[in-house]
């Protein structure tokens, strides 16, 4: 079975919510919609305080090509446009919408009907009505960004330079982070729709083939995909040996194609483009159902009061999703390896939120670092073939040129080194310091 060749780790998978279907979480009474939920320029509001908006209406437009619009995820009235505090505690601009009671009930009915429609058999003739340009415009106007976590605007990825069309579209369904099962649940429930989304993406970017990269720890999802895919279609499944960080773009491209993206390069350098499986579903919903990206599936797991894979409106506050959590816990937005921990539970779930993981103090407390014993576990674990012990020392001693020479910018911040270190050294913390210093120096 295929996998990437350099490094990697096997943390306990803890997929506590595996096997749970996608459950629709009721729309909240209030949403906060950050203007920047993506990589690129923030969106520009196109509504005023006091305006009435309906669910799905664009409330902020994209500012340029590398940007993404934001849509209302509930119907109601614009209550405020201004700074809110995000999960990490930083101030960010956002649009706040308060629900209108009448419209709210209608939205709920409508939404449930839509989800019901999504589970029905596919109608493949629909996807042949659009030109690549139209598809890219719809994807852009629907505010679709990469749902794997990085939230890069999807149109940008799907707009190859003339003559550089990717030969292969790789769909990332690895979900290599422990605990997370949102992609798994989505595939098990909506595989035919995902297949349609993949076809639409292929037409949008001109790729002639698509491969879905999925780890072997999701047998039900693999079976669902097999059922949904007609062998005659140019979409195949690559079942990969479970290993973290398989979902890293470079690792996935290597696992699927055997080709290594050069340092500082992109998948297009080896003729590929990578998109997340949830993004493919979002493309289906946007193009074939006219639904912009206003909700997504997130995994609520760990020590959360209610665990599950929930369809959540973007902008719902973390505490509305989680319910009440005890004080002495860590709330991780995303997976335990690369997710960020939250200080503000009133902050909204965004397009990039793949999960909310509640870790009890005992599961996550950092241990006192011991001296490095040069066991080389970090070197063995690094999926980029770097020397984390060396990079971390460079970061600690502020040796930026040496860090650059040891290719600190290649680091994908997967956290394998910090995870594996038997001396509990905060390797990645120091490597991040070095990385940002080297980036600043390079400018």
């Amino acid at each position: 079975m295929k996998t990437f060749r350099i490094g990697g780790i096997h943390p306990p998978q803890n997929k506590l919510t595996a096997g749970m279907p996608v459950t629709v979480l009721d729309l909240p009474r209030r949403v906060q919609l950050p203007l920047q939920q993506h990589i690129g320029r923030p969106a520009v509001p196109c509504v005023k305080v006091g305006d009435t908006v309906v669910r799905g209406q664009m409330v902020a437009r994209a500012d340029g090509f590398v940007s993404a619009p934001v849509h209302a995820s509930i119907s109601g009235r614009v209550k405020a446009i201004g700074p809110i505090m995000n999960a990490a505690g930083y101030s960010i601009p956002a649009i706040e919408i308060e629900a209108d009671e009448e419209a709210h009930r209608a939205d709920d009915v409508m939404r449930k009907a839509q989800i019901e429609f999504d589970t029905r058999p596919t109608d493949r003739t629909l996807s042949e009505r659009h030109t690549p340009e139209e598809l890219r415009r719809i994807i852009a106007d629907s505010g679709i960004v990469g749902l794997g976590g990085a939230a890069f605007p999807s149109t940008v990825k799907l707009s190859p330079k003339a003559g550089h069309e990717p030969e292969l579209l790789i769909i990332n369904a690895c979900e290599c982070e422990p605990y997370l099962t949102c992609d798994d649940a989505l595939i098990r429930g909506y595989a035919p729709r995902i297949a349609e989304g993949i076809e639409l993406m292929m037409s949008a970017c001109g790729a002639r083939r698509a491969v879905i990269g999925i780890e072997d720890n999701k047998p039900e999802a693999i079976a669902a995909l097999r059922r949904a895919l007609d062998p005659a279609w140019p979409i195949s499944i690559a079942v990969l040996k479970t290993k973290y960080p398989q979902g890293g773009e470079k690792q996935l491209v290597e696992a699927v194609t055997g080709r290594r993206i050069p340092s500082g390069g992109l998948p297009s350098d080896v003729g590929a483009v990578v998109n997340n499986v949830a993004t493919a579903f979002a493309v289906y919903a946007a193009v074939l159902c006219g639904r912009p990206l206003i909700e997504r599936v997130i995994t609520v797991t760990g020590a959360a009061p209610v665990r599950g894979n929930f369809l959540v409106a973007v902008g719902t506050s973390i505490s509305d999703v989680l319910g009440s959590v005890p004080d002495d816990v860590k709330v991780v937005v995303g997976g335990p390896m690369m997710g960020s921990s939250a200080v503000n539970l009133q902050a909204p779930v965004t397009k990039a939120t793949s999960g909310l993981l509640v870790l009890a103090a005992g599961e996550t407390r950092r241990l006192t670092p011991d001296p490095c014993i040069r066991c080389a576990r970090c070197v063995e674990a690094c999926p980029m073939g770097l020397e984390p012990y060396l990079l971390s020392t460079c970061g600690r001693l502020r040796m930026w040129p040496e860090a650059a020479e040891a290719r600190v910018l290649d680091c994908i911040e997967c956290g394998s080194c910090s995870y594996i270190c038997p001396s509990s050294r905060p390797l990645l913390d120091y490597i991040r310091t070095a990385k940002s210093a080297v980036k600043t120096l390079n400018k």
């Binding site: 241990l367 001296p371 040069r374 012990y389 911040e413 995870y419 509990s424 905060p426 120096l441 390079n442």
Partner: protein
């Protein structure tokens, strides 16, 4: 108060202290064999050495380096050093000599370089070589092995297989001296921990099974020695089983701190140690060459690390490093 920190948010349960405990466990068969063949006093010497090393570690960390506490992994590492040190000396070495060795191992070879993780040379090996050079007579008195936890009562001493080999050369007289079976089980003269190849191999299998070490260094050393012995016409079996080769290859050369970081580096390091060992044994003044070879390998480790970088993911696209 909600807990907040950068990612990753989970951590392996494996610790440095745990890895060192595994090595200590893996040495227990060898320690048992030492007690079996050289009597209960062998256990006494081990206890003296382990206690002394831990005590020196604590005292130096606390009162010489002025640290507020001595970390748990450092103390376990010191215990391991103490155990390895006694397994590397002859039974019947006076207790004060063991103390001097422990002080050299912890004080000079380890703490003077900055403590755990900072030493260039394996402390136990450095101390053994220090004792060998300082007290050559005491360090080469080899009691004849007894059995069943009973030392040979009248204090008979004899030669180690490698000393005998040096004396007899490749002549058939050696076959009269000891058999491969004796060398494998351990009823031969030698340092406490090196006599029983069986006990050491059990430890090796254990270390591989719990993934504390990889096969690369031991196998590279053993294979190199065997191949070179064949090449120069030396006796292979006594060279592999009759001296400190297995103890050194499995437990000393694989010390994390003083051995290379990459698999390729480990193989080069192992081959180097193997070559030097055979050269010393064949043409040097000493019958045994493992300690010197490992020290040399330790010294070259930084260079090997520099030379054998891991395989990076992907080619450099353009040379635009700062």
């Amino acid at each position: 108060m909600i807990i907040f920190s950068p990612s990753p948010h989970i951590h392996t349960r494996r610790t440095a202290a745990g890895a060192m405990m595994h090595v200590i466990i893996a040495l227990l068969p060898a320690a048992f064999a030492a007690a079996w063949f050289f009597g209960l006093p062998a256990i006494g010497v081990m206890l003296v050495s382990v206690t002394a090393c831990v005590a020196f570690e604590y005292l130096i960390a606390r009162f010489v380096l002025g640290r507020r506490r001595a970390e748990r992994p450092s103390l376990i590492a010191a215990a391991l050093t103490g155990l390895l040190l006694t397994l590397n000396v002859p039974a019947g070495l006076p207790w004060w000599t063991v103390l001097v060795g422990a002080l050299f191992a912890i004080g000079v070879a380890k703490m003077a370089f900055g403590g755990l993780g900072c030493n260039i040379f394996n402390p136990a090996i450095a101390a053994r070589v220090f004792l060998l050079i300082s007290f050559p007579a005491l360090m080469t008195v080899w009691p004849v092995p007894g059995s069943g936890f009973e030392a040979v009562a009248d204090g008979l001493t004899g030669a180690t297989p490698l000393e005998a080999l040096k004396k007899f050369g490749a002549a058939d007289d050696f076959s009269m001296f000891c058999t491969p079976g004796e060398m494998f089980m351990g009823s031969i003269g030698g340092s406490l921990g090196e006599v029983s190849a069986l006990a050491l191999l059990i430890g090796f299998v254990y270390l591989l099974a719990v993934r504390v070490i990889s096969w690369h260094i031991p196998v590279a050393i053993i294979a190199t020695v065997a191949a070179l012995d064949l090449l120069v016409g030396a006796r292979v079996v006594p060279n592999l089983l009759g001296g400190g080769l297995l103890l050194g290859a499995i437990f000393m050369a694989t010390d994390y701190v003083t051995s290379p970081m990459t698999r390729r580096g480990m193989l080069i390091y192992g081959v180097l140690i193997g070559v030097v060992t055979v050269v010393i044994r064949q043409w040097g003044a000493y019958p045994e060459g493992m300690s010197f070879a490992i020290l040399l390998g330790n010294g070259l480790t930084p260079l090997i690390n520099r030379w054998c970088r891991p395989v990076r993911f992907g080619k450099l696209q353009k040379e635009d490093a700062v």
